[in-house]
């Protein structure tokens, strides 16, 4: 699929396609355009360099930078409007802006009292709104036409990660809190559960039931190289489990380094998942068969975000320093990259024997 774009630099052991003109600093958010954008595929990336960039991804693998918009602080999350014409950008500047791509204009649509950590667009049959979470311990829903949120819910702690798949939303907070919300009718808190993980929550991603295509659970990643698969209503308590990942295999008696799971993404078609880690690798997993489908060699920097396009053909992952070793290891000269990979075949579940 990606013909001539493969760069074989030393930092690309997987020989994936490098996105041109990457951001100047670590990528904090990565999203492909939704299915409503039919003719083209666009990729949006938000970065610690305070900008959100848009590329068009052509089928040949060529990426064409299209536009960029700045925020007043590092961008922490981006989200597409379901109609594919607007992108929401959440930043440490405590605001969320809406970027109208056609007009290339931005407008503020949300604000919090602290940096906004996540933003997601909700499209329900009877309403649409923007959901934002922040380090100010609130979860807000916005009709983007007014400056006052249409609903504010309190979180027990600062929001660290969130995901939305209508009609379900889940928020992971500091102090290992997890809260699930139902979005039907109007958003409401559904359930708070005890975390299946013992360490700080880092990322969460909702998965759907293969048959019903309804959200049925979520995968939660922590800083301790572990992912928990948690069903909302497990038929059997043993359905919920955790697995370890992104750890260096220590020799017997040697040290093992445990890295954070920075992002999790589910393949939209196969239901398998990808995890990217602070160790500099990504892995593909089949949660139903409880197997690992693939893991990769380590890159020289951490992987910070990943995303699948809506058809599941392309897997994108961003490489850059994630601050896991503190500011001392920050090297501004090390560049950030985004790579693309043809992923449809790789993420297929293997037939179980």
């Amino acid at each position: 699929m990606f013909g001539s774009q493969i760069s074989t630099g030393s930092n690309n052991p997987n020989k994936d396609v490098e996105v041109s003109s990457p951001p100047d600093d670590t990528v904090s958010a990565l999203e492909f355009s939704p299915p409503s954008v039919t003719l083209h595929t666009f990729l949006i990336a938000g970065s610690w360099d305070c900008q959100v960039r848009c590329w068009e991804v052509e089928t040949s693998g060529k990426t064409v930078p299209k536009a960029a918009q700045p925020m007043d602080g590092p961008v922490l999350d981006v989200a597409w409007h379901d109609d594919g014409t607007k992108v929401f950008m959440a930043s440490t500047d405590k605001s969320v802006k809406c970027w109208d791509l056609a007009a290339n204009q931005t407008m503020q649509v949300a604000a919090h009292d602290a940096p906004v950590k996540t933003c997601h667009w909700i499209k329900a049959p009877n309403y649409t709104c923007l959901m934002t979470t922040s380090w100010d311990k609130t979860l807000k829903f916005w009709d983007t036409r007014t400056a006052v949120p249409s609903m504010t819910l309190n979180l027990t702690e600062r929001a660290y990660c969130a995901d939305v798949e209508y009609p379900m939303a889940v928020v992971g907070t500091a102090d290992r809190g997890i809260c699930m919300y139902t979005l039907e009718g109007k958003p409401a808190e559904f359930k708070r559960i005890e975390s299946p993980l013992k360490h700080q929550h880092r990322c969460v991603s909702i998965f759907k039931d293969k048959k019903s295509k309804q959200p049925t659970g979520f995968a939660l990643g922590s800083v301790e190289g572990r992912v928990a698969i948690q069903y909302v209503n497990p038929t059997n308590p043993k359905d919920n489990f955790t697995f370890k990942c992104h750890r260096t295999t220590g020799a017997v008696g040697g040290y093992q380094d445990i890295y954070a799971v920075n992002d999790i993404a589910f393949h939209p078609v196969h239901g398998t998942l990808a995890t990217v880690g602070s160790d500099g690798s990504f892995s593909f997993w089949d949660k139903d068969a409880r197997t690992k489908l693939k893991s990769t060699e380590l890159l020289d920097q951490s992987l910070t975000k990943c995303a699948f396009n809506h058809s599941g053909q392309i897997f994108a992952y961003a490489v850059g320093y994630d601050w896991s070793k503190g500011h001392e290891h920050y090297n501004p000269n090390k560049k950030t990259f985004i790579y693309l990979r043809a992923s449809y075949e790789e993420l297929k579940a293997r037939p179980t024997q």
Partner: protein, 393 residues
């Protein structure tokens, strides 16, 4: 009588009060009667170890120690042989032996404080049982009670003893951490396998918990404070700053990302108003499909970077000079226009009426004031030059 070998009395089992000649036999008894898993008959080494094993492997919660007296069934208390017995119980036992039945019930529940999240959640996965490696609030607990709780894994009981070993000096040597030995309980997922995370020596744990509280962080610093070394040198370490705060929060504190006024602020700038955010003077490159080559308008609802347009064009020139982020207040209600945009005239856009919560005081930006500290405003465009950024066409 032969030997008056009273090391305080004959060894007796805390759980069921039976007496034994020898501590070794006592331990064997405990393992067989009190620390044996009723599901798989595996003999663990301590009560907490048994609890962890059952939760991790069988997903079953145990609330009391098997075959124990009703007042001695606390599974959280760590007894090994004669070690770990609460002093009150020791006294009571002696009294009972000598005085015969004082019947005061000893209190157990010593370190109940231990875990933050231990209510055993059925099916919630193995890790819910114990705090895992976390040096969770262990403050009140006497050292020696904890090591077992730190291992996440039922296979770790030997591990749990390791720190104890260091303290008591009397325990048999256990196989080391055995980091890589994964329990073959599940196929390819390394689930539930041996804690590659070693149990930190108890003695250091409570103190490190305290040390790592920062900024009034009440949460256990958790996760990332695993001191690595186990008795045999095997260990693991979580690659994360010790503070249990998200990486983004730590990063956002860094001066490079903060919207604070820079020390090398241009002297021409009036002192920044505290509320003001950075203003970015970015011209963003447009590309062909976006046919508007005209102004990139920032519609700001006042708090976020709004720039004065007139200044902008000249200001853009200063881009190279601007390293400092300055607080650039902007007049509310004024629509900024990005520099470099073909349209030099500021475009006014009606401000949303509902602005109050965003209101900040702004002042016009001076030419040459550029943005965000530390970040080279990539988008700055020089008037007359093509809007395209070299990097970002």
């Amino acid at each position: 009588m032969g030997r008056k070998k009273k090391k305080a009395s004959k060894p007796w089992c805390w759980y069921c009060n039976r007496e034994f000649d020898d501590e070794k036999i006592l331990i064997q008894h405990q393992k067989a009667k009190h620390f044996k898993c009723h599901i798989c008959h595996k003999k663990l080494y301590t009560g907490p170890g048994l609890s962890i094993h059952c939760m991790q492997v069988h997903k079953e919660a145990i609330d009391k120690v098997p075959n124990s007296l009703p007042n001695r069934s606390n599974i959280e208390i760590e007894i090994y042989g004669m070690e770990g017995i609460p002093p009150e119980d020791v006294k009571e036992h002696e009294k009972q032996k000598s005085g015969g039945g004082k019947g005061s019930d000893s209190d157990d529940d010593e370190p109940a404080a231990k875990k933050k999240a231990t209510p055993a959640l059925l099916g919630a996965g193995p890790s819910t049982v114990s705090p895992g490696i976390l040096p969770t609030p262990m403050g009140p607990v006497p050292p020696g009670m904890y090591p077992g709780h730190l291992a996440m894994n039922h296979m770790m009981p030997p591990f749990m003893q390791a720190p104890r070993m260091m303290m008591a000096g009397m325990r048999p040597l256990f196989p080391a951490a055995s980091a890589p030995t994964s329990t073959p309980s599940k196929p390819t997922f390394p689930a539930y396998s041996n804690a590659t995370i070693s149990a930190p020596p108890t003695t250091t744990t409570p103190s490190s918990s305290a040390d790592l509280k920062e900024n009034g962080e009440v949460k256990p610093p958790a996760a990332n404070t695993c001191p690595l070394v186990t008795a045999t040198g095997a260990g693991s370490k979580i690659v994360h700053p010790p503070e249990d705060v998200s990486l983004e929060e730590i990063r956002a504190r860094h001066h490079k990302y903060r919207p604070a006024p820079r020390p090398n602020a241009s002297p021409a700038l009036p002192p920044a108003v505290s509320h003001a955010e950075w203003s970015h003077l970015y011209a963003i490159s447009l590309q062909s499909s976006m046919n508007n080559m005209n102004s990139l308008v920032y519609t700001s609802t006042a708090n976020v970077a709004a720039h004065m347009s007139m200044a902008v064009a000249a200001a853009a020139r200063q881009q190279a000079a601007a390293a400092a982020a300055m607080r650039r207040p902007v007049l509310p209600g004024v629509m900024p226009v990005l520099p470099g945009v073909r349209v030099p005239v500021p475009v006014s856009v009606p401000v949303l009426p509902v602005v109050p919560q965003f209101s900040l005081v702004h002042r016009p930006m001076q030419p040459g004031m550029l943005l965000p500290g530390g970040v080279m405003p990539m988008g700055a465009v020089f008037p007359g030059l093509p809007v395209m950024q070299p990097r970002f066409r």
